[in-house]
């Protein structure tokens, strides 16, 4: 997937980076995700002006401004509908949505599920750190139920975690993968695959919050490659998820579900004809 073109005009990963300095804590996993994005874009040689990255609110959701593409930093939890509205009306663009686990699975949980169902051709990347980084350390839907350092859940959340890949599959996403910020090149490859696959692609990237979940530094020791290649059969994918330890890395599912692609080609001329329905033919 690495960029092999020798053309002098070839864009490098750094050409996709903006000059804005990230606000992230030194060591935050999101830096690597940012570099995975730029590598993937370079691998695909996307025209920066034809790419739009949309996000909600959170540390991770700051990513659009750090890229040299078009971006929309929307409100908390609503990035997916913004992306859907854009992609439906501008099918010529590469639309990517990025954000955190709180943004995507808590306040934005419904849009996530419905976006999987709608299966518009776009890519959704969630930088999962199992915590609310931006608001300084509360539990998120992916947090383990017994994590007792969440500031609003002193005894742990004591509720079932949210399994993003399971919900994505059950709802109808057409591409499902997990990556790790510890391996930006691998993550870049997965993002590339996701963008290139038709329909709604979902990529969970494990991206440690070293400030509020310092123990996540150990993730690099835990993650391991998925043992098998991606399947196109939802039933097979579902069975694999039953034994998921939440740390396998790789592409789980590449489906053949038909993307939602309404015809959209605004024609100005015919607006006048609409009047005829109202005219009284005396």
């Amino acid at each position: 997937m690495d960029q092999t073109s020798t053309s002098t005009a070839a864009l490098k990963p750094k050409d996709y980076k903006s000059d804005t300095k990230p606000v992230w804590c030194p060591g935050c996993g999101d830096f690597s995700v940012l570099s995975a994005f730029t590598k993937a874009m370079a691998a695909m040689q996307l025209d920066p002006e034809r790419v739009v990255v949309i996000s909600g609110i959170g540390c991770s959701s700051r990513i659009p401004a750090y890229l040299n593409v078009y971006g929309f930093h929307a409100v908390h939890g609503r990035a997916l509908p913004v992306g859907i509205g854009l992609k439906i009306t501008r099918p010529d663009l590469t639309v990517m949505v990025a954000g955190g686990d709180g943004d995507g699975f808590s306040i934005g949980g419904n849009h996530f599920m419905q976006a999987c169902r709608r299966n518009v051709d776009m890519t959704y990347v969630v930088m999962d750190n199992q915590v609310y980084g931006m608001t300084k350390g509360q539990a998120s839907p992916t947090t383990e139920p017994d994590w007792e350092r969440g500031k609003l859940t002193p005894h742990g959340t004591r509720i079932n975690p949210f399994y993003p890949l399971v919900i994505a599959l059950a709802s109808g996403a057409n591409f499902i993968a997990r990556a790790s910020s510890n391996d930006p090149n691998g993550a870049a490859r997965v993002i590339t695959e996701a963008v290139q696959h038709p329909g709604f692609s979902f990529v969970q990237i494990l991206s440690p919050c070293i400030t509020f979940r310092p123990e996540q530094r150990d993730w690099k020791k835990i993650v391991h490659p998925a043992p098998v290649v991606a399947t196109a059969d939802p039933a097979v994918a579902a069975r694999r998820l039953m034994t998921d330890d939440n740390f396998f890395i790789g592409t789980l599912f590449k489906g053949e579900r038909v993307p939602f692609t309404p015809e959209f080609e605004p024609r100005a001329e015919s607006a006048h004809e609409l009047e005829t329905a109202f005219r009284m033919s005396a």
Binding site: Y70, G71, V82, G85, R90
Partner: protein, 578 residues
């Protein structure tokens, strides 16, 4: 509005009621259409009991020789196919001693109606219907009404023919027979509510509802993307637009909720497509956070709120003007935006189209406050003019070194680069930002951007469309939206007593127009504020932004009943004005 000398013969009000399946709505629609074909103006509104389907229903019509926008003080004719639960409509169908109540033979009309002192007439509707094979009472009723008001049967026959075509010739024939037979049964009452039909036919009349008119205005204004979630009484606007948009190469997406729909608009608009949604109070409440995003990120969107009774789920099927507050003030933070209100069925077209034009031009969010009364009223109107307002967004079309999406200066509107434009990449943001779009919490950036977002709206010249101003009196009635219609009728009533009042009805509610209002109020010494809300929201809004030397007086009546012209007249007279 043309002034009409002889109210009796220039406007007739008719209510048709019946229980589930009686077909009064069909009859009402046909009557309206036939009247239109005969060159009359008119409106029809509907009312129904709580049953989802199949309960009692009322079709309320007013037919007139001049454009009408609201119901009259009383109904002239109340015709019931049956009286089951009919008294539920008592308050909505005021009668007088000159009114005529018609019902089935031997079926006593409810006392609630007869108490009015109206005359009554019994007709063997069922039997007449039965005389025709496949005959139905609602068709008989149509004939009766036509005969009473002197409407020729021919246009009605045409209507039956075109509307029943699908059902085959037999259906048409039996309906025509019922109509004719009904018309033949009115005896001495024939023509007793004769409308003076003009001989020259109005040649360019439309039969349209406010919701449809708003939808057409949206498309004319350039809207090509709608995302929405159904809600009464806005749904028909959306249902009309879904196929209509396709005809012009646009699309409507049914979203999972209002949070999704408004954000889909923001995405589509960011990509350059003028976008709109329609909802009602509860949906608007869910959208306010993201409307604020549209304001802060300067992404044009239009939200039509077809208001219904509130608060909370309230009274979904009835009209009220009680979302004024949330529309004006409902966004958190200082979020200047546009609020507009159509004042008639026809004006739903103009105002919605204008709203799109303004939102696009000024790169902000516009809220259009329609209401159930405007939206669901079906009216025969003169063909509205095709105004030139189309979306005209300021676009940065060419690459530009150091492009700043939120550049300050000038009139506050900064050209927007659309994705696809090389060299202008930026990130739109709802966080406060520097001119580049990069988040900033500096006091200076905040101040500059707050000024920018306010000034671009305040400095725009909205022209005379900002309000409708009529009359010359020293006493003003200030009103808005669907309350204008009864106020105009009240003015006509007062004029016939030789009294003129001045009517001021702002179509543009935000940004406020203090200079224009001052001019409109020149010479005025007292003003009554008429609105359909319990909390006198419009009255307080006027005090907040247009304080005057004189004190405003408030006539605020909540829904569900419409304001009647004579109430306005009485209110003015009670206060010792005239």
């Amino acid at each position: 509005m043309e002034e009409h000398k002889d109210r009796a013969s220039s406007s007739i009000s008719i209510a048709l009621i019946g229980s589930g399946g009686a077909g009064v709505m069909t009859a009402g629609s046909m009557l309206l259409e036939a009247a239109g074909r005969a060159g009359l103006f008119g409106i029809m509104t509907r009312s129904a009991g709580p049953q989802i389907r199949g309960g009692e229903a009322a079709a309320m019509l007013r037919l007139a020789t001049f454009p009408v926008e609201s119901h009259d003080n009383e109904f002239d004719i109340l015709l019931a196919i049956d009286w089951l639960n009919a008294d539920r409509f008592r308050a909505e169908i005021p009668l007088g001693t000159q009114s005529l109540i018609i019902g089935e033979t031997d079926a006593e009309p409810p006392q609630a109606f007869t108490d009015s002192g109206a005359r009554t007439l019994e007709l063997p509707l069922k039997q007449i219907a039965r005389e025709t094979d496949g005959g139905r009472e609602n068709m008989v009723v149509l004939g009766v009404v036509c005969s009473l008001i002197g409407l020729p049967l021919e246009p009605l026959h045409q209507v039956l023919e075109s509307l029943l075509k699908r059902k085959g010739q037999a259906a048409i024939d039996s309906s025509v027979a019922c109509v004719d037979s009904g018309a033949a049964h009115t005896g001495k009452h024939q023509g007793s509510y004769q409308l003076s039909l003009s001989s020259e036919k109005q040649c360019d009349l439309w039969n349209i509802s406010g919701n449809e008119a708003a939808g057409l205005g949206a498309i004319r204004g350039g809207v090509r993307f709608v995302a929405a979630y159904p809600i009464t009484p806005a749904t028909e606007l959306l249902e009309w637009m879904a196929p209509a948009l396709e005809q012009v190469g646009g699309i409507l997406v049914q979203a999972e909720d209002e949070l999704a729909s408004v954000n889909q608009l923001i995405g589509a608009s960011f990509g350059g497509t003028p976008s709109l949604t329609a909802t009602s109070g509860p949906g608007l409440a869910l959208m306010t956070e993201s409307i604020g995003l549209a304001v802060a990120s300067e992404t044009p969107i239009v939200v039509v709120d077809v208001m219904r009774g509130g608060p909370s789920t309230g009274i979904p099927t009835k009209s009220e003007q009680s979302d004024l507050n949330i529309a004006i003030y409902g966004l958190h933070g200082d979020a200047p935006h546009l609020v507009l209100a159509p004042m008639s069925v026809a004006d739903c077209l103009f105002t919605t189209q204008w709203a799109i034009h303004l939102a696009e031009k000024l790169q902000t969010a516009a809220i259009v406050l329609s209401d159930q009364n405007l939206g669901q009223t079906r009216a025969i109107i003169e063909r509205p003019a095709d105004v030139a307002f189309v979306s005209g967004r300021s676009i940065q079309e060419t690459p530009m070194e150091g492009y700043q999406r939120y550049a300050v200066g000038g009139n506050g509107v900064s050209p927007m680069a659309l994705p696809g434009t090389a060299g202008c990449q930026y990130t739109a943001d709802g966080l406060e930002h520097a001119p580049s779009g990069i988040p900033s919490s500096r006091a200076e950036d905040h101040r500059q951007q707050l000024d920018k977002r306010r000034d671009k709206l305040v400095n725009h010249d909205y022209g005379d469309h900002w309000a409708l101003i009529e009359g010359e009196g020293e006493f003003a009635v200030i009103t808005w939206g669907s309350s204008l219609a009864p106020v105009r009728e009240a003015r006509a009533m007062l004029l016939s007593d030789g009294i003129d009042i001045r009517i001021i009805a702002p179509r543009l509610l935000l940004p406020v127009q203090p200079e224009r209002m001052q001019q409109a109020l020149a010479g005025v010494t007292g003003a009554l504020v008429v609105e359909q809300s319990h909390g006198a929201q419009f009255f307080h809004y006027l005090q907040a932004f247009y304080p005057q030397k004189f004190e405003f007086m408030s006539m605020a009546q909540p829904g569900p009943l419409p304001i009647r012209p004579e109430q306005v007249v009485a209110d003015i007279k009670t206060r010792g004005k005239y």
